[in-house]
Amino acid sequence: MDAKDILGLPKNVHPLTQEKKSRPQKDSQRKPDGISREVYALTGGVPPLMPSVDTSQLKKRPPTDEKVTWQWLPFTNSARKDNLQLYHWVRVVNGVPPTGDYSFAKYNKSVDVVRYTDEEYEKFLTDPMWTKDETDQLFDFCERFDLRFIVIADRFPSSRTVEELKDRYYSVSRAILVARAPSPGDVSGNPLVKEPYNVSQERERKRALSMVLSQTKQQERKDAEVIAEAKRITESRMVAQSADEPELPVASNSGLENAEKAIVLGDNVSPSSNAQLPSAAVSPSTLIADNALTLASLRMLRVYLRTYALDQMIQAASSSAGLRTIKRVEQTLQDLGVNLKPRVPTKAVCSEHLELRKEILTLLNLQKQLQYKEAEGSSFRDSPYETPGTPKDRMFIPDSMSFGGERVGKRDQKRKAPGRLTEAPSSPAQSKRPRKLKASDL
């Protein structure tokens, strides 16, 4: 009798809902009772990672000679100074209430702030930047706020930076510690002496941190682009080097030739790394260089699959484009009804596919340019209804639409229709005009 019988299902229906795992080992150890076959098959007979409690243990009763009651009893808290008496429920075993301090009292920690005498101050602690009153105030606050310097700086009467406060506190503590020690060796291990507070380093650290945190997304992206580009260049250099290696015996007598090669390579690559404008992302010379390098690295494999080569070429061609651009290229491919990966990747199909991708990249760049110009134009004319919409939304919808209209079936057109509605109000005049033309073309 199994689940199918219980549910009254016919026997000949195949259990599609069953786990599609491969068949479990026939000769594995016997599964323990109480575990279903499917669950046991998942573990493959391996002992569990988590320690498990034997089920018989769970039902065990505590020893019966203990008589446990709960009582509402008063208690005092040693962490308090006001001797306030409160009540709480206590577990009482055999009528004997627990003794000792309140169990949470130990969590009341306080900082040991060093105190100094007037003579000590006169002798060791005078500082032209600080008066004694100010220093006293600082130490009071340090004790009161448990060295929370941000709070201290906030409450401090005169305006001092957090770094200044910290510096004063730590230097005073250190001076006192050293002065009171019988010999310098006794306190050399103390963290206050061992690692003195460094104001200038701390200021620099905070400045650098705030610089990183205040970076805009664009700057961050630019940095990432530069780093990616640098990585690509070093990689391509490495490939070029190893590709040159087999010919080394011939070229070794003229080291000049190699040096020349390196220079030429450097020249080829540098223009794209200098290019700051995203619209000029793919310059043709780097594309050709990319291809050549990819081919060189493929040749070294001696044997490879056409689909692997295509993947490599696509990667090389889009290495200078951002992730979002790559996504857009793929979206466009889908809108055009083209397989992202060719179904019959022959050499001719692959090169056509690559060309198509490059053309789409050009198209996207042109769209960006057009958008930029439109925005520029609308600021020229200063007409309120032509302010550009959000770039992302506008860039793509008109395109996928016209592609859909031309090629993709009616079903797809319907799916895209809402895009037209949401997009229409913010669309500037320029992008409307060509779409009307398109409609008449159909």
Binding site: S22, R23, P24, P342, A348, K373, Q430
Partner: protein, 245 residues
């Protein structure tokens, strides 16, 4: 296929630069549901294979294929020493099969890995399973040999299994090594294969047509964008000259 003699091998292992030999292959599986005969662990009978895209004999290029099955099978590493490179088994689960292809010594000393996810159950699960019609999943790909050795090139120059490039001008290949004929006698092609009626068709022409149509659209679009941009540029010049006045 015998091992070429060492001396011969040295002479013939010259590399052909700027020549690329590719072997179109199709790999995948066909799975039949066993219907009434299905048991819990053996619900399907399946065959995984690597075949020539036009069902030619791959034996001229591939020496051996190793199929790595799931570890729950007896002897999960299955070696097929001669074409056709296929393997039939019975089971109930889908899993990834790693197929390692080893080539003849003059072709490549490096093996090539393919990965195929065995498929037993039809894509749309609601449909009834049939014992007559198998579930077939196939992928087209090409094994590419950049800079093949001269002996390999001359051996397969006129063989239908490879797509052979046009040789650069002034290139001549030595006559084929006669040892190759012996292996030809054995039938390794899959033309009369019992499963051949289920093999899928891979049409390069369809794919090229689709791509050409897409490229045309994109190019038209590019041209249109260029026109728009130049139009806006013109407007800017106008408005600039207007504002200058």
């Amino acid at each position: 296929m015998g091992k070429p003699e060492d001396g011969e091998k040295k002479i013939l292992s010259k590399k052909l630069k700027d020549v690329e030999i590719s072997v179109p292959i199709v790999y995948g599986n066909a799975a039949f549901w066993l219907g009434k005969k299905a048991s819990e662990y053996q619900s399907h009978k399946w065959t995984v294979y690597v075949r020539g895209a036009t069902n030619e004999d791959l034996g001229v290029v591939i020496k051996r294929a190793v199929f790595q099955l799931h570890s729950s099978f007896n002897n999960p590493t299955r070696v097929v020493e001669a074409p056709p490179f296929e393997l039939s088994e019975a089971g109930w689960g889908e899993f990834e099969i790693a197929i390692t292809l080893y080539f003849h010594s003059d072709v490549s000393d490096k093996p090539l890995n393919l990965y195929h996810h065995l498929k037993l159950y039809p894509e749309d699960e609601s449909g009834p399973m049939s014992t007559k019609k198998p579930v077939v999943v196939e992928l087209y790909d090409e094994i590419v040999f950049p800079e093949p050795s001269e002996s390999f090139a001359s051996r397969v120059q006129n063989h239908p299994v490879v797509s052979f490039p046009r040789l650069p001008a002034g290139f001549t290949l030595p006559p084929p090594v006669p040892a190759e004929d012996a292996s030809r006698k054995r039938r390794g092609d899959t033309k009369d294969h019992p499963l051949s009626q289920w093999f899928l068709n891979f049409s390069e022409a369809d794919e090229l047509l689709q791509l050409a149509a897409a490229r045309q659209q994109v190019q038209a679009h590019i041209a249109k964008l260029r026109r728009q941009i130049s139009m806006i540029d013109g407007q800017h010049q106008q408005s600039k000259s207007v504002s200058d006045q």
